[in-house]
């Protein structure tokens, strides 16, 4: 219970700090006036631009944290992460195609669908390669993931160079590949919030079976779990979550890795509490990282992905070192 209060307070604090931070720092009193419906230009800017952006960052973080927890659960591997396993890279390739290739469908439909197809395809590919190589352990999966991510990155760069004849669209894709939360309207934000809740609900349906899978394949099978089918299902669910995160926030590294770890320290490894806790931790982390991205070098914005990579990279190295030693 204490962990949940702590997480809730941390998220509230992160949102207030992030809403204050920026090119033009606002006091909590300014924020309150803007929420109350003040018609002053500054208040309206805060309400229409900064608040939705902060909340969108929180949602992207929640999705990344959730996606990371699902991936670590499916692969029974605390080093698994959507970004490292090529799944985020697949989503990015799909989204790049949606943004740059002239296709018959509207972009608002194509982008999430292709992002999902990319995320899922990449994960299935990585899983298949690791299985054929007979190495579903940490190293095997990560190496297969690195290889697939590199190939997908090359394909994405090629698509970007070959298909964008105007610098504007290239700019859009690039800012998105580097990770960056778009500022949504309140309506879009509402939809995104509903979808994130849906993702959390979907993931919670998998919680107990993720626990059983964590007992090892033989034990899970003897407890009645159809391991192959469940892994396929959970990879599908994880890909939906990753695609949603990538569609809103681009490629944001290491949050999916770090959030489940921090959540496990707080609520333990059972997935029923871990999944929502990991989403909350992810929300806190990305909200703060996005605030840093906006406030560090005003008026310019640093890509969010650079901030999380700079902070998350060392975290990953630490985990890797601890794991290899122990």
């Amino acid at each position: 219970m204490r962990a949940w209060v702590l997480l809730g307070l941390a998220l509230a604090a992160a949102i207030v700090v992030a809403a204050s931070a920026g090119h033009d720092w606002a006091s909590p009193a300014d924020l309150w006036r803007a929420i109350e419906g003040d018609r002053d230009l500054r208040s309206r800017l805060l309400f229409d631009w900064r608040l939705p952006r902060v909340l969108a960052a929180a949602l992207v973080g929640a999705l990344l944290g959730l996606g990371g927890a699902i991936y670590q659960g499916v692969f029974r591997n605390p080093l698994a992460e959507p970004y490292l396993l090529g799944s985020a890279g697949g989503a990015a390739l799909g989204a790049t195609v949606a943004l740059l290739v002239p296709l018959a469908l509207p972009q608002s439909v194509l982008l999430p669908v292709l992002a999902f197809a990319g995320a899922w395809g990449a994960t299935v590919l990585v899983l298949g390669i690791a299985r054929i190589a007979g190495a579903i352990d940490a190293a095997g999966l990560l190496l297969a993931g690195v290889a697939v991510a590199a190939i997908l990155g090359a394909l994405r760069s090629f698509t970007m160079l070959a298909l964008s004849d105007e610098t504007v669209s290239l700019q859009v894709v690039l800012s998105w590949v580097l990770g960056g939360v778009q500022t949504p309207s309140w309506g879009v934000l509402g939809w995104a919030a509903l979808m994130s809740l849906g993702c959390l609900g979907l993931a919670s349906l998998l919680a107990t079976r993720l626990d059983v899978l964590g007992l090892g394949e033989t034990m899970a099978a003897s407890f009645g779990l159809d391991v192959r089918r469940f892994v396929a299902l959970a990879v599908l669910a994880g890909s939906v979550v990753v695609a949603a995160a990538v569609a809103f926030g681009g490629l944001v590294a290491f949050v999916g890795l770090a959030a489940p770890h921090i959540a496990r320290w707080l609520v333990g490894p059972l997935h029923r509490p871990l999944l929502p806790a990991s989403a909350l931790v992810g929300a806190v982390v990305v909200t703060l990282a996005d605030a840093i991205a906006r406030a560090l070098l005003p008026p310019a914005e640093i890509p969010l992905g650079l901030v999380t990579a700079a902070a998350g990279g060392p975290f990953f190295i630490l985990l890797l070192a601890r794991r290899l030693r122990g």
Binding site: R76, G216, P269
Partner: protein
């Protein structure tokens, strides 16, 4: 009444034949020790009987039905399986592990979990994490996880092999005792324990059954010596027989 039966099972891995045209059946009650030299196919046979591996030929029947066509959840309630090695990927609490075992049967409530925890003397360990347990405690937790759902059939793959003698004795005795009103089939490496605690002994060599008889009869059988490639001296003790092996004369 037959609980589990295997008809003409054959299991191959690549060019190797692990189980070779093997048939046997078990009743609803009884304690059975499965013994044999390394590589005889004991673990493979147990996994096929538990429905965790599919044979290349032949089939396993459970009651009158086909095991392969049984839904996983139903199978999990009927057959308990104790693996040789168990290492959960996440460092769960002992209480959570037992609860996951109980989740196989949705009708089981908190009382069943509490009873099992008391029965295996895990009361003080409930809030401990798996990684902090000793070998003997791990074995007790594993037993509790599998037996909390009280499956009518138990297939155990030498879960006590790595334990010290006191804990091994405790585990083997508990498994054999289960055979009084249920079916308990256990791969046992320690022949003294196999003949002392189990009613029936099945000897497996190179994927085939070379002997299958009540323990009291089989103890004197020469096939035992042949199966292990040694000469046994059978020593009468207060508890039963003790087997002393020496190299076979060629």
């Amino acid at each position: 009444m037959t609980a589990i039966s295997a008809d003409h099972l054959r299991v191959t891995r690549g060019a190797a034949t692990l189980i070779d045209d093997l048939s046997l059946s078990f009743g609803e009650r009884g304690s059975v020790a499965l013994v044999g030299p390394n590589g005889a196919g004991k673990s493979t046979l147990l996994k096929v009987l538990a429905g965790l591996d599919l044979p290349q030929a032949g089939r396993v029947r459970i009651g009158t039905g086909d095991l392969a066509s049984l839904p996983g959840a139903v199978r999990a309630r009927m057959i308990g399986f104790l693996p040789q090695h168990f290492e959960p990927h996440w460092d769960l609490l002992v209480g959570d592990l037992v609860r996951l075992g109980a989740a196989r049967n949705p009708e089981l409530g908190v009382e069943a979990v509490a009873k099992t925890i008391a029965r295996f003397e895990l009361g003080g360990l409930e809030r401990r994490r798996w990684s902090t347990l000793s070998g003997g405690e791990c074995a007790r937790v594993l037993l509790a996880m599998v037996l909390v759902a009280d499956p009518p059939m138990l297939l155990a793959d030498e879960p006590a092999a790595a334990l010290d003698i006191r804990h091994r004795l405790g585990v083997i005795e508990a498994l054999a005792e289960r055979g009084r009103d249920r079916l308990s089939v256990v791969v046992v490496h320690d022949l003294d324990l196999a003949f002392r605690f189990f009613e029936r002994v099945v000897i497996l060599v190179q994927g085939r059954i070379v002997a299958d008889a009540p323990a009291a009869e089989l103890i004197a059988d020469q096939r035992l010596d042949e199966a292990f490639g040694v000469r046994f001296e059978r020593i009468r003790t207060a508890e039963g027989w003790s087997l002393q092996a020496s190299k076979a004369k060629t």
